[in-house]
Symmetry: C2
Subunit: 351 residues, 2 copies
DNA sequence: GTGAAAGCGCTAACAT
DNA sequence: ATGTTAGCGCTTTCAC
């Protein structure tokens, strides 16, 4: 009964060692339907029969085959989470929250990185299309850069999808909307309150990155609303690394342009890079240079002085995305929901 | 043909909107067997037929149902990775490396946290047993604390399993063995070279944690080999957080026992906590207090002065675990392999 | 090179 | 309360 290698008429063989529902049924002297009912807690099975079945399941070490179950039910209790990277405080925080939320909702999490950058389009596409989507009950996707193809692929999928995005116009899908603007404006105004506009700087991440775009725009509009005309050197783009922050600060310092600055960094890492470069160069913070980071990762409480930063609701993003997904799966007909999450300044010691 | 809600004799209905292999076969005027061959790149299908099939697949947007495929092939191209937590540099590094390796090997990664602590045994068990194991082609499990039940569950599973462990005796499974001893000894000796043994401290993580056990033992044996008798206050346990490090240092400082110390911390976070507390208390590092961390996370390059630490091959752990798993899946008969990864001191500026 | 047909191990009517 | 049975959508012989 499944314990022996067998050949049927068409030569299809059972897997040796695998215990099937039929084996349990035989052992418990019931039909497979009854076993199935016990497994799924369905209908009323006689208490005594159920006990017999459970004993058999236990004794044989039976585990239902999820493939077979899924084939009928079309459910796997698996959720996908696609983010640009798995590393660093930022994604790490989202991921952990998502995992916890998924568990709470009775799901498991399949993580995958997908390169937001639309570079070798074909390559990114493969990554995404290799995803065993039909095995997933739903999928949350975080969009940080333009990436038409892969996105299109997901968007047009029949799968329940939740987007983590900045763009409120983002289609008819459930969306977690993150608003960088309020926090970035707040930070800029805060900086402006003690430093002249011409000494303000924005040192951002990748120019194509949606967050960076939104953050820099907010920075610029606050200044322009105050009638301050920006010089090109006041807004720079690089990447989300400490090295970039340090490099920027070193260059600014050697041009004699760092002292007296108040800088809004694209994220906490960049801010940290700027801080170390400034401090290594003998500048004090916030005395000579004021710095505000972005994201409110744990990093910001680790620096000395502790970094003022714009809080990103990272855990909330992960949690909401999964909750939204679970809701969507439960009710596929519900109209698309938009969850708005906002950012705000956390004043600490560097500003 | 799958595009309409239908009822068969037993009332089983097709999913509306789902394109099946039969639909493709019909459209391409071939049998489903041929479509299957094209999908799987099998056998020689006439070049022209294949083209026709591919066109139909494309046109209909057909995606093979993974459940059905898995039911026959017993393969999902999904790997599980179970770690105690998903957060922080430590796990984050492992996870990213594992994800990359999995992708390279043609797999996707299902992550799950499982509480190493054997606390509410039943609860942990449920977490693990709710894992859709039969959906996975294999699983890598990181063990950091005793947890008999859940572990037993996984160990006895028929699934290919790779253990990430410290215990060389860890059974007949493939194992990534991490040796904390060499690094911890090296660090202790390094500290000892400029600080008297009675001023050495070990400030570890949770006492039950395997890493902490191994690290503290190495610390103690080096001292005892030198004929130094340890006082109880020289080895303390807490948790892997900066707060614990800070608390320890503050208490030591207020007992007047911090200055002159050389401490080996259980991880970089603890080390960082100790550093900040010492610096806040007006002590200089490494002048008044010498500190060595553990793990060589990015944190260690972020502190000022930069933290000496014991390098843990985190990326290597993730990569090797997945590679080993892939190898095991490819050849289930191969004899269990043990991959030994070791640790070593990275001298920076705090010691 | 292609098709027919037999299942893989389940779930869910339907019947009793 | 339990059994019978028809598939779910694929892969894989085997025959042609």
């Amino acid at each position: 009964m499944g314990s022996e290698q067998q050949s049927g008429p068409a030569g299809v063989r059972k897997l040796a060692g695998a215990v099937s529902i039929q084996d349990v049924a035989d052992a418990a002297q019931v039909s497979i339907a009854t076993v199935s009912r016990v497994i799924n807690g369905h209908q009323l099975v006689a208490i005594e029969t159920a006990a017999r079945v459970r004993a058999a399941i236990e004794r044989l070490g039976f585990r239902p085959n999820r493939f077979a179950q899924g084939l009928m039910t079309r459910k796997s209790k698996l959720l996908g989470l696609a983010v640009p990277d798995l590393h660093g405080e930022f994604y790490s925080s989202i991921l952990r929250a998502a995992d916890t939320a998924a568990r709470k909702a009775g799901y498991h999490l399949l993580v995958t990185t997908f390169d937001g950058t639309g570079k070798p389009a074909a390559e990114g596409d493969e990554l995404i299309s290799s995803l065993p989507m039909s095995l997933l009950d739903g999928m949350a996707v975080m969009i940080t850069e333009p990436n038409s193809r892969a996105l299109e692929y997901i968007r047009t999928s029949a799968l329940p999808v939740v987007m983590i995005d900045l763009d409120p116009s983002g289609g008819d899908r459930d969306t977690i909307l993150i608003d960088n603007t309020t926090g970035a404006r707040e930070a800029t105004e805060h900086l402006l309150s003690a430093t002249p506009g011409s000494n303000l700087r924005f040192v951002g991440g990748p120019e194509a990155n949606f967050d960076t775009v939104q953050r820099s725009r907010a920075f610029m509009s606050v200044l322009s609303e105050r009638g301050i005309t920006l010089r090109p050197d006041q807004v720079r783009f690089g990447d989300y690394t400490m090295e970039w922050g340090r490099r920027w600060a070193q260059e600014a310092a050697s041009a004699g342009a760092l002292k007296g600055c108040a800088v809004l960094a694209g994220n906490d890492e960049i801010a940290w890079g700027i801080m170390t470069a400034a401090q290594d160069g003998g500048l004090s913070i916030p005395g000579d240079v004021r710095v505000v980071g972005f994201d409110d990762t744990r990093l910001s409480t680790l620096t000395r002085p502790r970094l003022s930063t714009v809080h990103m609701p990272l855990a909330q993003i992960g949690t909401s995305a999964i909750e939204l997904l679970a809701r969507r799966i439960a009710d596929p007909q519900a109209s698309p929901e938009k969850v708005r999450l906002s950012t705000s300044l956390v004043k600490r010691e560097t500003s």
